[in-house]
């Protein structure tokens, strides 16, 4: 059964220095409140895993939480660069950042393999690209045992901690989410420990078209974090704050303005995004 915890308690209990941590949510339901709580608690040397690092990892990398990044597309969607990610890769600020780079299809296959308790996922992918050599520790050519054709294997991802956001949970800790569901289910099932932050905890989960339910016994902890996906969004709760994504380009443009923002909006607040 999932424990119902306050967000700060949940992060303190589940996320430790040096852990591999995946905070997922494909554009939708990105767990910003949880990521910012990790910054507040000063976690270090994390291996951060996420298909699209997005603003949340830009913040965590800039705040010095990360040692390594496993990812497939590191931009600010529709806006441009992730400037803190670039500063870490290009200038080692605030610390050097090791990269393990994949494609979206490969990352999705790696999560699905992890959730399925397989050592690797299989796809037709990467062939002819330099990603194949660059990430050769986690990408390999294999031969189909039935047809003999060449395929690509990608090493399964089994994070120490998986964190996602969802619309709601009931008091038993059953979690319900809908809209773009991304890789939310795969992350929770692939990770050794998991935390789901939710917009609200309700008495009963009414059925929703297209919704999925993660049963309480498959979830580690649930924490209520209203507005916890902002500036991404929670379908039927609030819209994506596109204006903030555009403003982030300026906030993150230099180290001083970034640090001032983190100080004011993360370090000196408690769970409010």
């Amino acid at each position: 059964m999932a424990e119902l915890l306050a967000l700060d308690e949940a992060v303190a209990e589940l996320v430790h220095d040096g852990d591999s941590v995946a905070l997922e949510g494909f554009t939708h339901l990105i767990p910003f409140a949880a990521g910012q709580e990790i910054i507040r608690q000063g976690r270090r040397d994390l291996t951060l895993i996420r298909m699209t690092p997005d603003l949340i990892y830009d913040q965590m990398i800039g705040a010095g939480c990360a040692r390594k990044l496993i990812f497939s597309w590191g931009g600010n969607p529709g806006v441009g660069s992730l400037r803190r990610l670039r500063d870490a890769v290009e200038h080692d600020w605030p610390a050097p950042l090791e990269l393990e780079e994949h494609s979206h299809a490969g990352m999705a296959a790696r999560y699905a393999a992890g959730a399925s308790n397989l050592p690797f996922g299989t796809l037709r992918g990467y062939v002819g690209t330099e990603l194949m050599e660059r990430s050769s520790e986690t990408i390999a050519e294999i031969k189909c045992p039935f047809t003999g054709e060449a395929l690509t294997a990608v090493r399964a991802l089994r994070p120490d901690v998986g964190i996602v956001h969802a619309q709601r949970a009931d008091r038993e800790g059953n979690v319900q989410l809908w809209g773009i569901i991304g890789v939310q289910k795969e992350i929770v099932l692939a990770s050794a420990r998991s935390l789901v932050t939710v917009e609200e905890i309700v008495d009963e989960l009414e059925p929703r078209p297209g919704a999925i339910v993660l049963p309480t016994w498959a979830v580690g902890a649930v924490a209520e974090a209203p507005h916890g996906a902002h500036p991404s969004y929670a379908h039927d709760y609030y819209d994506r704050d596109n204006g903030f994504y555009q403003r982030w380009d300026e906030i993150s443009a230099d180290r001083d303005s970034f640090q001032a923002w983190i100080e004011e909006h993360v370090l000196r607040t408690a769970g409010v995004t």
Binding site: S81, A108, L123, L131, R240
Partner: protein, 258 residues
């Protein structure tokens, strides 16, 4: 209503209109954010109303009224025929062979249509760390054909890529088959100056069409390899009033910073 007389056609507008014309009706199109998404939506609003837009966030058949800023804006899900998980969109729909056209952009392209969206400079110590491959490596391999849209300059049309993120025609004709890629590869590259198509034999990108106001000379100057120009170079038709009106209305729906 905005008419051509009121505002000149910008290079981006020309490129977007030409890209939208490249989509025929009832095409299933895997769309990246930015110019590809704008062009695909313009096609849907003009000559190709039954074009199916697939976004990598898992939305199939999205019909957004407002142009999305991200690949997963809520409106894409609300207006979709189906919303599927991300592993499924790549495995069942893209790899499964259900995508007719993949629409891609990149920072660099070479004469055989290979794309770089990863780094400028050395990988370990890059001059510019770009976002990375994202969905592109498998879209480039799996979509039945690929349309590339990018601005043409010596920095982007290069003799040698700094990193090969996605495969066009590889190092030589026949490479796609050898690598087991089911799709045909990039059949058209649309730029702010004109349109390039692969030579049927050598696969080398050749300028086959030029936009009004541009010239083969300028296109050569802005290409980092000796650009081949088709003998029967066509001129692109000016955007129609309807194309321009729909495009400008569409672009106006993108939220401005507040």
């Amino acid at each position: 209503m905005t008419t051509k007389a009121e505002a000149a056609v910008s290079a981006d507008e020309m490129m977007t209109v030409v890209a939208s014309r490249a989509l025929t009706d009832e095409t299933v199109c895997f769309v990246g954010i930015g110019l590809p998404s704008t062009a695909a939506n313009l096609a849907r609003l003009t000559h190709a109303p039954r074009t199916v837009l697939v976004y990598e966030s898992g939305t199939i058949g999205s019909k957004p009224r407002n142009l999305p800023l991200s690949i997963g804006d809520g409106e894409l899900a609300e207006t979709a025929d189906a919303v599927v998980p991300v592993p499924e969109i790549f495995a069942y729909w893209l790899q499964g062979g259900r995508i007719d056209v993949g629409f891609l952009g990149a920072a660099q392209i070479d004469r055989l249509g290979n794309l770089n969206s990863t780094v400028i400079g050395d990988y370990e110590r890059p001059k510019v760390r770009l976002p990375g491959g994202g969905g592109a490596p498998e879209i480039a391999a799996m979509a039945k054909e690929v349309i590339v849209i990018m601005r043409q300059s010596r920095r982007s049309f290069v003799d040698r890529l700094d990193f090969r993120s996605s495969v066009g025609y590889g190092d030589a004709p026949g490479d796609r088959k050898r690598l087991g890629m089911p799709g045909r590869g990039p059949t058209v590259v649309i730029t702010d100056l004109g349109v390039l198509r692969p030579d049927p034999e050598s696969r080398e990108l050749t300028l086959t069409q030029i936009h009004p106001g541009a010239s083969a000379e300028v296109a050569r100057e802005r290409t980092g390899w000796p650009l081949r120009v088709a003998e029967d170079l066509e001129e692109t038709a000016e955007p129609s009033d309807r194309e321009l009106r729909e495009l400008r209305e569409l672009r106006a729906t993108l939220e401005e910073p507040t």
